[in-house]
Symmetry: D2
Subunit: 337 residues, 4 copies
């Protein structure tokens, strides 16, 4: 039974608090820290049996009983807190992205070289039942050599322009999951990326230098070609699909819905919309990724998403932004790291 401290009590920190408590064997959350710790969070923690609520996360790092920390703080603090945690000898589960600053990631990597702790990045979709089914089929050779990878990812509603301003841009904020999925499903890295994008949902997003709609093409190291289509606003809900096509066929996954109910009336044959957003859609994957992290800690085995895997989508996102800005295909090797 390992003891976990959660750093950051925002939405994702709470998701992990509940996920570990109700869905992860061999682990318990001992403490949670947040600079804005308040009575509501304390009440929530008490109900889950979390013993300590701190406003300073160093109290977690200083607790010798705590084996592992989950870094769920704001993105710009992920790398520095990770480094502190590694130095304190804690295993680290770090939410994605590790950092938007490639130098910071390098620092974390160097710190890890000097340490024996486990470090896992929170690309939860790799643990989703649908995407795992695709991955399994590909690995089992059911589609043969991979030729095409297609990922559709559309959010149900665009974020406020204020959020967009500080988000790092759509590629780093939203598409990063899809870049990871392309690598995961193909079992290959990206060589070159070409991005076409525009602000079609909300023109104000263009005013702050971002886009909300994109088609991104990637040439993979193994010769396959991948494509992602993104929109910040699919009014029918969170659209999360993927296809892998190869020499022996194709495997594809469609959206999950709340039920299989189909209503047939004079107006047509109508099924349910996809599950609304990532909390509804990917809830199980959040506890599964932590379960595998805990297993890696307990068994001293490899984590399923290491820092190199966590780095790739960031490199692709940076290259995609460059491609968009310069309207040309950009090689990953052009990105300084």
């Amino acid at each position: 039974m390992i003891k976990i401290g959660i750093i950051g009590a925002g939405r994702i920190g709470k998701v992990h608090g509940e996920g570990v408590t109700y869905g992860v064997k061999n682990a318990v959350v001992k403490a949670i820290a947040d600079p804005y710790m308040n009575a509501d969070t304390e009440k929530w923690a008490k109900e889950l049996g979390i013993l300590h609520c701190y406003s300073d996360y160093h109290q977690i790092l200083d607790d010798p009983e705590i084996d592992a920390v989950m870094v769920c703080s704001s993105t710009d603090t992920h790398a520095d807190i990770s480094i502190e945690a590694i130095r304190a000898g804690k295993h680290v589960f770090c939410e994605k992205p590790i950092s938007q600053d490639l130098n910071k990631i390098k620092e974390v990597m160097e710190e890890l070289k000097k340490s024996n702790v486990k470090f896992q990045v929170g690309f939860n979709r790799r643990f989703d039942h649908n995407f795992r089914a695709v991955k399994s089929a590909v690995e089992a050779g059911k589609v043969g050599d991979v030729h095409l990878i297609k990922v559709t990812a559309r959010d149900p509603e665009a974020p406020p322009v204020e959020y967009v301003k500080t988000s790092g841009g759509m590629f780093l904020d939203m598409t990063i999951h899809d870049f990871d999925m392309v690598c995961f499903l193909s079992g290959s890295k990206v060589n070159e990326v070409y991005a076409a994008g525009a602000a079609l949902v909300n023109p104000d997003i263009a005013k702050v230098g971002d886009i909300d709609t994109a088609i991104i093409t990637m040439k993979m190291e193994n010769g396959a070609i991948a494509v992602i289509d993104n929109s910040r606003q699919a009014v029918y809900g969170y659209d999360q699909r993927a296809e892998v096509f190869g020499s022996k066929g194709q495997v594809a996954v469609a959206n999950d819905t709340g039920s299989t109910a189909v209503l047939s009336t004079v107006d047509g044959i109508t099924g349910e919309k996809p599950l609304y957003f990532f909390l509804e859609r990917y809830m199980e994957s959040f506890s599964r990724e932590v379960s595998e992290f805990v297993d890696a800690v307990v068994n001293n085995s490899e984590v399923p998403v290491d820092i190199n895997a966590g780095l790739q989508p960031i490199l692709i996102a940076v290259a995609a932004k460059k491609s968009l800005d310069e309207n040309r295909p950009v090689k990953i090797s052009e990105i300084q790291f």
Copy 2:
């Protein structure tokens, strides 16, 4: 926070133990009792934080801190233990069926009249997301007046003949859920039933006087006609579907699968089989039904499946057996109660 004692530590008792612990708010399992209590069960209980393991369920009934019991013992003991629990002032969640003996059910009903405790029957499928979606559509008037109700229920494999011998027959053992579903989805009671059945899966089942395949037609009090088709063995897995058809249209639910993955090869376009059996398929419904039971206890409100609702499927099952034996439609009013 109410305290629950579970009586019976077999498969369904353990399902409820985990369901309450991980999925039900405002309730905790304090004790579990089973005449065959053993070290494995004690270990399982300890991991869940269940404090007491007894071999005599009276220790649960005698514990004044325990507010409610869940009767998960063998079917032939449901009624007697329920009566004892009611007399001990405990709220009762009783697994289905209450009894195969109609007189025993009458005794429970009479005991309840003298008491103020809540009594809920474990027809868990009413809490399943798919069947709830059908029920909601029907109640919202989306199919208009109900004309036809169709339920398909097929198990993935037939039980051993030894089990069949003591099961009470397919109608009381398996179809009972479907009889309940017909009542639940139509919002009506059954007037008359006609059953056609045979042992087509395993002829040995006929030798012990039972069937494994059936079509059962029911005339409902509200004028609608219902039909159930059953098989003890669908080799492709647990087949659980329903349709309600009416003056304004139809609502139908299909099977749930482990993922939406579809594989396209030279051999065809292939999706996943249904979730294997009831534990996989209906897991969420087990904690939902208990959540609503706990809510009813906490708020002193109506339970969602009371003893009258629990009685109906048993009456229909008895009538269906009589119909099968006499090869004629049988009215529910012919059944002595």
Copy 3:
């Protein structure tokens, strides 16, 4: 190249006129006869290249160049005209049902014994791509031994009460196709039938002694159990489905639609309704059944739906009506023939 005369220029006569002209090889329609022959029909015939329009069908029977006739007149004349045609040495394609009078069918059968002409009954659904796919899977042993056969057949709108009065009742008028389908898909005959029915769509249909909604259960000679559900009015369109379930699995067919288009909006995920009614849904099957009839004539081989096959659904319909009237299962052997 055989020459065909069509007797009856109503809806189905015209469907066959066009079907033979545009879709049947080795055959041409030489003449069409109808007591109400008019200018519109003559214009229609001219466009198709049909040379002769008669008001007396005897002109067709008297034409030595005509090899085969298609009896598309009103149901009550099918048998007598068939007999005349057989006596005239013409091959006969007779629309379903042969007759609602079992004695008349016997007369046709006796006439056939004295003759060498081909006689085919117009159960067109046997030639439909969907039902053929089910039949092929069953015959190829893909579902193993057949245990259950399910047919859903619902019309898009109820006929006028005036029509119902003279229709022979829903079983002979509408369900007759489904009775045929049960025999066709199972490869077996019906032993016993139990029908539950009511006038739920239009109570006026009850006033003229008929029903519009039914569940009909059949025990088959091969031990399987079959069930049909019918409604005269599915507001979402013509609902035509079937399932055959057996020891090795199930084959099922769903409705056909005008396109595969699916619209996803805030209101849900909506597909097209089924093709509206039998002309849209079964058009191809009308020319296919005649093609096979023509092949049988040209090659002097067996017709695909002979008079015995044409008789079965009528016997079942009569038994089903008796079952409904007497509220008991009725054996086919109880029907005098």
Copy 4:
């Protein structure tokens, strides 16, 4: 009733011969010409009632009774024969592509300016029930402003390398239909194209300078972004899908199959593969496009696919090839015309 002459008696010429004869009102094929006219073709023509078979197409152009010609000869002769036919005062239905030589297209356009004949290009997929359903939904505003257009087009098997050599390349030979579809479905022209492609199916295709797999991104004049994915070999059959996504939702079409049959066994839940190839999949569209051509001739109205519409996909294909060769996005305005 207009009289048609078909020039070219290869596969597509025969498809049109049968399509006009059996499926087009107000038109009849009077003659067919082919330099390799032979007994088989003459027999085929006789069965269809086509009166004349010529080896020199000028006999068709010289026949004053013939109102329109269908140019179904080899691609390199389309333009010249079209020009001759226009000069002879014949309406022209020209198979796609008009020419692979942009100058030749210009010549045809100039000839048309001096004439009053109708000229239609054979982009048959615009007449397919699925793509028409998408187009209708888009035009009816059901998806709002168009943001993304996605077309999947994969052939069931790669052509021989010998064919590939003279095909003009995949973009002009195969993708040209998809370029047309992107324009048709979006109601907009393409501004810029970026193509990523490789020979992944058959490396020998690379040796003759072509590709067999591609992702092509297009920026549309109306601001939308389009993407096509192509493969020369989908082993599960002809994969023909499209999606249009916009501010109010999405409309998507899936593949057509021979039946809706689904087989459920221990191996999974298996549906039919798509219809095998373009003859099976698009047969109805061939007679529909000619019906609309004939209507335009008879009513002196606009043809549905004029020469400007026929030109666009060729310009896009040329730009896509340039993009592939130079690995950069290419503007359509860069292409000399």
